[in-house]
């Protein structure tokens, strides 16, 4: 059985301009010790979906799901107290902005030992050695002396490591990392990703990695969920997705990468992601899709085999699919 199993997760926000569906029917399944990547453009609902799982959304959010099982327990029917026992201990999350999620007023040592106290009880002092061990594990040199450092005295990469140290302090079964390296330099990014994979392997921890970077997906994850405008458009093994994407959006996303350009101009996807006000009829991707047919403009597709498309790309005769009227370049 999967460690985490989410079916048909939907999140709606009540906003001044009406209801906004930020997450629209997402299914996730993560096995023990597995790395799953969630990839999608800004605003596609990656963070909101995970915050919903953690129960950390504001009251304006309406969360619904057919099921949300963690380690065999039903998170939906659980009361807040039971849920809090799991969240933070068995499931931890590294948030998108490391600088803002460490408390600037407390030392690194205080913040790590505090987490340990909260979950295991006892006095903060008794966890000093464990804190040093943790800082050591995430590759912070001279860990003993860093216990008394405040976040502002550390670089961005160091803060991110401290965050990770705090998150793995309780040896969670599942770690959710929301863009853990986006603000960091490539050499530091490589170090942090390597650290996360190392922890995943040595502790058998499952990892959900949220990113917008296809290259990071390729190098770290086993499975991937591709989101577009709040919807899950494709879910595959990473190897398969990169070899033969089946959703037109996944294909377009991969083809837009500079590495895949055949000539000087890149294969850009025309248009932009629809907003709250200009959601198209039918498939949400249809105005930007080079394969869109009349059906796509009228009817929203249904999820089949993890793919949300009327005409997935593995169809036997691909030349049938291309709509000759739509020239991608000139749009």
């Amino acid at each position: 059985m999967a460690l985490l199993e989410i079916a048909n997760l939907t999140v709606e926000f009540a906003t001044a301009t009406g209801s906004l569906r930020a997450v629209d029917g997402i299914n996730l399944s993560v096995d023990e010790g597995e790395i799953l990547a969630i990839v999608g453009e800004s605003g596609s609902g990656k963070s909101v979906a995970m915050l919903a799982l953690m129960g950390l959304l504001p009251w304006t959010a309406k969360v619904s799901a057919d099921s949300m099982l963690f380690d065999g327990q039903d998170l939906l029917s659980m009361d807040d107290r039971q849920r809090r026992k799991i969240i933070g201990k068995d499931i931890s999350m590294i948030f998108q902005e490391p600088m803002t999620s460490l408390n600037p007023c407390f030392t690194v040592g205080y913040q790590i030992t505090e987490v340990l106290c909260q979950h295991f009880g006892g006095s903060r002092r008794s966890y000093n050695n464990r804190a040093i061990e943790l800082l050591h594990q995430v590759g912070i040199p001279a860990a003993e002396t860093r216990l008394n450092a405040y976040p502002h005295q550390l670089s961005g990469g160091m803060c991110q490591r401290v965050m990770i140290a705090m998150m793995i302090a309780c040896q969670p079964k599942l770690l959710i990392a929301d863009e853990p390296t986006t603000a960091l330099d490539v050499t530091i990014q490589a170090q942090i990703l390597e650290l996360l994979i190392e922890l995943q392997q040595s502790h058998g921890m499952a990892l959900i990695l949220i990113t917008h970077d296809m290259a990071v997906v390729a190098e770290t994850a086993e499975h991937v969920v591709v989101l577009y405008a709040g919807q899950q458009v494709e879910q595959r093994s990473v190897k398969e997705l990169f070899k033969s994407p089946q959703h037109p959006y996944s294909e377009a996303l991969l083809n837009a990468l500079p590495e895949r350009a055949q000539e000087k101009l890149l294969n850009a996807i025309p248009g932009v992601v629809p907003g709250q006000m200009d959601r198209p009829k039918g498939c949400l991707f249809n105005p930007r899709c080079s394969y869109a047919q009349e059906m796509c403009r009228q009817q929203p597709p249904e999820l089949r085999d993890g793919i949300l498309c009327h005409y997935p790309l593995a169809m036997p005769n691909p030349s049938m699919r291309k709509d000759p009227d739509l020239d991608v370049r000139t749009q």
Binding site: E41, S42, P141, S155, G156, G157, M158, D185, V186, T187, I188, Q189, A190, Q191, L193, E194, H212, D213, M214, A215, V216, V217, A218, E219, V238, K239, F242, K243, A252, L253, L254, A256, L257, P258, E259, R260, A261, K264, L265, L266, N267, A268, I269, P270, V272, V273
Partner: protein
Amino acid sequence: MKQQLIKARNLHKYYAVKSGYLQPAQSLKALAGASFDLYEGKTLAVVGESGCGKSTLARLLTMIEEPTSGQLSIDNIDVAETTEKSIKKQLRQTVQMVFQDPFGSLNPRQKIGNIIQEPLIINTNFSANERHQQVLEMMELVGLRNEHFQRYPHMFSGGQRQRIAIARALILKPKVVILDEPVSALDVSIQAQVINLLIELQQELGLAYVFISHDLSVVRHISDQVMVMYLGKPVEQGPNKAVFNNPQHPYTQALLSATPQADVEGKRQRIKLTGELPSPIDPPSGCAFNPRCQYADKNCQLHEPVMELYGDSRVSCLAVAQQRIGQLKAS
């Protein structure tokens, strides 16, 4: 023969910084010796980690700041030697800049049309009608529609805002455009649109670009020449192919190997960089990279390497000089 637009020789920029109240000011070497030539229609990419001096270089080239020492010629005119105001003004118009943040760099209270024509109002004597005409032409060139003229920045997506910033930078018909991380804040699919726009504008107008970025896959695609900087100093510079296919400086090699690749076939050998970027106030003696370099020996702590030509690139490294460095396996 292509026209030479920028000639930079040994540019330095030092800032006086105080580490505390009552402490004497120290000198921070933000840029310590950059030399290059830039020709019409060509792109020089400047890469390196946060704080290595990329934006400082941009401020010197756009004459926002004066170099502490070194020589800068724009359009064959020595900037330091011109005292005449009109010539200075003309040089300023020759080099324009586009910033990273498409949200922060546009005045939210001004209409798009006014944002784009502001440089014309300040720098030229065109009539209101003429200005209006020029703005409309420019908007068309960068793919904005006529009716956008009256709208405010918040009504635009990130990609469109970057188009606005590009239009504003081009309105004075510069010959050189400094692009400081122009696509870093954009999503993959939008990033490709903006890169294509930049490529097309360059081909059409013969613009020269200084393209500042930490995204090596974008740099590899767009640049003719590459300059890799570390702690204020160029460590390797040369033609695109030479730097990417045969990186010689250990830092360039590490940077390339740390860049994730959107490729699921075969894992590459990754060079692990330990430690973090040292402080530019108190840079390591000898070669500034030596504390993180796997090839460093005693000499590297004592002697400062200088740029020398090896093959097609100029490299500043003692180990390269002694031929102690193996080739990075081509990816």
